[in-house]
């Protein structure tokens, strides 16, 4: 569990700075969730994650599985009526976790056969995305 000790306002500032997004812009229409290809597996889904952040429940979101399931496909940001890009917010949230020295992925967890099969770019990206 990641327990952040900084004041709430600090984390909020971090999230907004790192993502370049303004949390209060979101009016909770849910269009991001509606179009997200991985929302079926996410917990919380994009619009709910933003709502939790608006409410100051930062730890809840930082410790969730949802943020690791975002495929950075940009559908949400492309269609959001208020110009909020949740993909960028998820990227910022993962960065905050990783910068707290918590790796999400280790080599041992990956199937060996898969490593020899799958394209390089998948691993390069995964290690940039999931490790400190």
């Amino acid at each position: 569990m990641l327990e952040l000790i900084e004041s709430l306002q600090e984390i909020k500032k971090d999230i907004e700075l790192l993502s370049g997004q303004t949390l209060s812009d979101c009016y909770q229409c849910g269009e991001c969730t509606a179009g997200c290809p991985t929302a079926f597996a996410m917990e919380p889904v994009p619009s709910q994650a933003i709502r939790l952040l608006q409410l100051g429940k930062f730890n809840e979101v930082l410790n969730s599985t949802g943020i690791w399931l975002c495929a950075s496909c940009n559908v949400c940001g492309e269609r959001c009526p208020r110009g909020v890009d949740y993909g960028k917010i998820a990227d910022a949230l993962r960065t905050i976790v990783l910068r707290n020295k918590l790796t999400h992925l280790t080599l041992e967890k990956i199937d060996k056969q898969f490593i020899s099969d799958a394209p390089q770019q998948a691993f390069i990206a995964a290690f940039r995305k999931y490790t400190t």
Partner: protein, 289 residues
């Protein structure tokens, strides 16, 4: 022969030779030399949107600088490279990133004005060669082959940074296939994400994304799929083995089908490097002996 700087990227040098070699060969036939950069670094395979992460863009920018020795454009084939290189350049030259840019130039110890344009090979085919012109060069008409052009997310979004094609209704690859005599198939998932990078961490999630796309392609009556990205190719081709439904649908790189139409040598086409063997389909359609 006209030379354009070319950036193969990491995967094309290894697992996706068929995407790379076909492109070089077909370009040659069409009168353009894809001249590989003398030295290049891996682009990073993913574009970090974290605002203070511009340092990750040193590698992409270095490649763009290197390209200037050859041309003012840099051609990419892999959708991920295209996405990373183009966005890096676009965002670095936004006015709000002035300070970062100056810092990076100091670090790289060079001057660069952002003028190298990242283009995808499809754009070269459309703009430099022309689909009408391409039509006249076809040796094996892909007549009767129903192709679903799958663009995925990396070519299309964010549309304001990439400006490649309409993000909701891309047609560039379809137009190319029409020029080759094939029959482009409309389906609503051309730009949906195949699950991409979550593959490594959560293969089941990625597989379900890919399966949804395949279902839509099969519903639309396509014989095969064409992609521009090694990761999409892998997700949609190889992962068929994990899907709850069997599709048996071959997945090509668009350059392979282009090569086929231009009678490129079978060795270069590299049709063996697939999970679903495409040869029976091609034979059935009379496109392969």
């Amino acid at each position: 022969m006209k030379q354009i700087a070319y950036y193969p990227g990491c995967t094309l040098y290894t697992k996706s030779k068929n995407l790379d070699l076909c492109a070089r060969e077909t370009a040659q036939i069409l009168g353009v030399e894809l001249k590989e950069l003398e030295t290049w670094n891996c682009c990073g395979a993913i574009y970090s949107t974290v605002q203070d992460d511009l340092a990750n863009q040193v590698a992409p920018i270095r490649n763009l600088i290197e390209a200037q020795k050859i041309s003012n454009k840099l051609v990419t084939l892999c959708a991920a490279c295209y996405n990373v290189l183009k966005r890096s350049n676009h965002n670095l030259f936004l006015p709000e990133n002035d300070i970062y840019r100056r810092r990076m130039m100091n670090f790289l110890d060079t001057e660069y004005d952002g003028k190298t344009e990242t283009v995808h090979y499809l754009e070269v085919l459309k703009n430099d060669i022309g689909f009408e012109n391409l039509k006249t060069k076809v040796k094996t008409n892909l007549d009767g082959l129903k192709v679903a052009s799958y663009y995925g997310c990396l070519m299309l979004r964010p549309s304001d940074e990439l400006n490649f094609d309409d993000p909701d209704n891309p047609t560039m690859m379809d137009d190319m296939f029409a020029a080759l005599g094939a029959e482009p198939v409309e389906f609503p998932f051309k730009g949906e994400c195949c699950g991409g990078y979550v593959l490594v961490d959560k293969p089941d999630v990625a597989t379900r994304c890919s399966q949804t796309i395949l279902e839509s392609i099969v519903d639309a009556g396509a014989d095969c799929v064409a992609t521009t990205c090694p990761l999409c190719q892998y997700n949609i081709d190889n992962q068929q083995k994990l899907m709850s439904k069997q599709f048996n649908l071959p997945v090509f790189y668009f350059t392979q089908l282009l090569g086929l139409a231009l009678n490129v040598d079978q060795k270069i086409l590299n049709l063996d490097n697939h999970y679903i063997d495409p040869k029976p389909l091609l034979k059935q359609k009379g496109l392969l002996k």
